[in-house]
């Protein structure tokens, strides 16, 4: 079969291309190149929602760490308002101590979603379920689109994303459906059932297996109300408003006080500003960390030591 061998040789690169083959290969190469350019161009021009037009609202939060005394009223308000599942805290309070005895100070740091202007979670989402809303720049999750791949959670440096590990039934302060024992009624908040901008983004625990996180209470903003955590803070440590408007409460606070943002070196451009001294990183020791453990077949949570 010498013939076959010679034919195989002819199929190598050494052979001259006929015009038809040349057009075919050239066309394929051109197509690949075009796709590469298009994709590359889109990656490089990934939307970094910069301080856009002056008319646009830029909702943000200012948290005064000097005023905060770690009562967790913000955490409670969030859980009640959004009915998030057990073991999930869209607003989390971190308590820590710094220094060594006898020079010890205690610090508190409430941590909502940062609603970044350069959000890594939005970039990595394979379905566009995580998006940055036009108009006020809130970073929201579309529960109807989410796959539950948890890539946003991995990409976020702040740890604000929470998956619904369990089914919506029997997993809540108030159950989403059915109620408990015919005594406690099911949870009911029509605000969480309606769409905002055509997408289901508000409230916690709609479906099993989707990502959820702090929405800055998108459903309350709609009515002109501040987020629940801000409204419930007994010492006015939390402030909310339009960072673009120089007359707003938040802008005035930022103009008069030194502030910092978390992990600014990652260039996520968070919209949550902290007044006061940043926690001293390595030296800060966590206090009374409550590490929770989900229990598979019970509504209860266990504390993990």
């Amino acid at each position: 079969m010498a013939k076959v061998a010679s034919e195989r040789k002819a199929s190598g690169l050494g052979r001259e291309l006929s015009r038809r083959q040349f057009l075919g290969v050239g066309g394929a190469a051109a197509a690949v190149g075009t796709v590469g350019l298009v994709v590359g161009g889109r990656v490089l021009s990934a939307p970094r929602a910069e301080a856009a037009t002056a008319s646009e609202v830029r909702q943000g939060m200012v948290i005064d760490l000097e005023r905060c005394f770690g009562c967790r009223a913000c955490v409670e308000a969030c859980k009640v308002e959004n009915n998030t599942p057990g073991g999930i805290t869209w607003m989390q309070l971190i308590r820590f101590e710094e220094g060594s005895y006898p020079n010890v100070t205690v610090g508190f740091l409430p941590r909502p979603c940062m609603h970044c202007d350069n959000p890594p979670c939005v970039k990595v989402c394979p379905t566009g379920a995580r998006f940055k809303r036009e108009g006020d720049g809130l970073v929201l999750e579309d529960y109807n689109r989410c796959l539950g791949c948890r890539y946003c959670e991995v990409a976020c440096p702040y740890g604000v994303n929470y998956l619904n590990w369990k089914r919506p039934e029997r997993n809540y302060y108030l159950d989403w459906k059915g109620g408990v024992d015919g005594v406690i009624p099911p949870y009911d908040n029509p605000d969480h059932d309606r769409l905002y901008g055509g997408r289901l983004v508000s409230g916690g625990g709609h479906f099993v297996g989707v990502m959820e996180k702090c929405t800055f209470c998108a459903h309350r903003l709609e009515k002109g109300l501040p987020p629940a955590c801000v409204a419930n803070c007994p010492v006015m440590a939390l402030h909310f408003g339009d960072l673009h408007d120089p007359e707003s409460e938040v802008s005035k606070l930022l103009a008069k006080n030194p502030w910092f943002r978390l992990l600014e070196e990652l260039d996520t451009q968070p919209r949550v500003y902290y007044l006061g001294r940043p926690p001293a990183g390595e030296q800060a020791k966590l206090l009374d960390v409550v590490r929770l453990k989900l229990v598979v077949d019970s509504t209860k949570l266990e504390v993990r030591r």
């Binding site: 990934a46 999930i88 990595v124 394979p126 796959l147 791949c149 990409a155 369990k166």
Partner: protein, 429 residues
């Protein structure tokens, strides 16, 4: 058409069914049943039945774990096959020809299992087609969308390659195995005996593009899944591409060695597949493992010397901390087989097929463990150091699902071997 004696030898898997076959298939089906039960549990209860949890407070877990590690591992193995087969074709390494199709099939089966691992990991597997539905708007940015794209293309190209190069053999089997014609018919549509030169030509180009895909997939989109994530210490870095590529190629060659040796033994193909061939593959494996350990050194030297605190924390946890036992176990699982593979490459008298196979299996398992460590160690050490360290313990559901993917891979492989010839029938080359 009468088949020749060597062809009959190659068709042993189709012609004979022994007790070994029946026992193996039964065991695999039991494992498959366990897989189904575990997945059913996960689907009906939610991902709460796994050991995965949200990282940070209050659950202090790891959102990715065995499933994603398993995914990366299977993608790595998937390169063996087609890459080896393509290299055999491009460089005309006729000696290796008998293992070409075994390797190609390994690629297809591994890619399927990689996809399955990814679906197992989803909170909403019922929405998996959202990946395709929203692909056009997301492929510009999401590394996961890139993965889906390249894996799909790689699968299509590999399947086409296998299909085209198999048609001639199917034609020869048509008379010999009339009972299997149902499976041959769809693949033989439009077959003509003089299509060979054209098929060779197409296969040549497919081989070239598959080599490019390999670099794009394991040296590109898979490492980018991690290397672009600045949020997780231990992942972000420009070296991840070549680092992952060496691991992928090493696990691929190891997988082919194991599989070819197993089939050689089971079907008594000692004449068909000379043992010397494994010596060559073992040497290639040694070079790849050396490359991998070289990258490992780079990674940890950089992290230990003057890296940001979070980076060195992850590295120290691996070298001397919580993961030290797993890490050094993994390292020994690379280093010791490596030493043997080098020895057998230099001194022919040290070469034993059995030991090369053992070395390959140990390397395969070590690289599986390494993939899990890559995923989990970084996720358990948050960059925002106000959070405590996390905890991750895989549950029985995760173990059963992972073992299940391997069992399904074996079942698919065996099923294919019962229907189609697993080595190329043509002799005259």
């Amino acid at each position: 058409m009468r088949l020749t004696e060597p062809e009959e030898v190659k068709l042993r898997p189709l012609a004979h069914t022994g007790t070994g076959f029946i026992v193996t298939v039964m065991v695999l089906f039991v494992l498959f049943g366990a897989f189904l039960y575990a997945w059913w549990t996960q689907l009906t209860t939610g991902l709460v039945v796994t050991g995965l949890r949200d990282w940070g407070l209050p659950l202090t877990g790891s959102p990715w774990g065995l499933y994603i590690g398993n995914f990366v591992w299977f993608v790595g193995i998937a390169h063996g096959g087609i890459a080896i087969s393509a290299v055999i074709r491009l460089l005309k390494l006729e000696r290796y020809r008998p293992i070409a199709r075994m390797a190609e099939l390994l690629t297809l089966v591994s890619l399927m299992m990689a996809g399955l691992s990814l679906v197992m990991d989803l909170g909403r597997p019922d929405r998996v087609f959202h990946l395709i539905r929203y692909w056009p708007e997301r492929v510009g940015q999401s590394p996961l969308a890139w993965d889906v794209t390249v894996i799909t293309l790689y699968f299509v190209f590999s399947a086409t390659y296998l299909f085209l190069t198999m048609r001639e053999d199917l034609q020869r089997c048509w008379e010999r195995f009339p009972g299997r014609r149902l499976f041959y018919f769809p693949l033989l549509v439009g077959y003509s005996p003089d299509e060979r030169p054209k098929v060779e030509q197409i296969a040549w180009w497919l081989a070239v593009s598959l080599i490019l895909f390999l670099i794009l997939l394991s040296g590109g989109v898979i490492p980018w899944l991690f290397g672009l994530m600045r949020s997780q210490a231990g992942w972000f870095g420009a070296a991840q591409g070549p680092y992952f590529l060496t691991a992928a190629l090493a696990s691929a060659v190891a997988g082919v060695i194991f599989l070819a040796a197993l089939l050689r033994r089971v079907f008594r193909w000692e004449e068909l597949i000379p043992s010397d061939l494994f010596r060559g593959l073992g040497t290639a494996l040694a070079v790849l493992v050396l490359g991998y350990m070289w990258f490992l050194l780079h990674e940890h030297l950089t992290a230990q010397f003057a890296a940001p605190a979070a980076e060195s924390e992850v590295s120290s946890a691996l070298l001397t901390g919580r993961f030290a036992l797993l890490f050094w176990g993994m390292f020994a699982g690379l280093a010791i087989p490596f030493l043997y593979l080098v020895a057998q490459a230099i001194y022919r008298r040290v070469f034993r097929l059995r030991w090369v196979v053992v070395a390959s299996v140990v390397i395969l398992l070590s690289l599986w463990l390494k993939r899990i460590l890559i995923v989990v160690s970084s996720l358990l050490f948050p960059s925002l150091n106000l959070y405590p360290e996390g905890v991750y313990t895989p549950t029985w559901v995760e173990w059963l699902l992972v073992v299940g993917t391997i069992a399904i891979a074996a079942l698919l492989y065996i099923g294919f071997m019962k229907i189609y010839p697993i080595t190329e029938l043509r002799e005259e080359r």
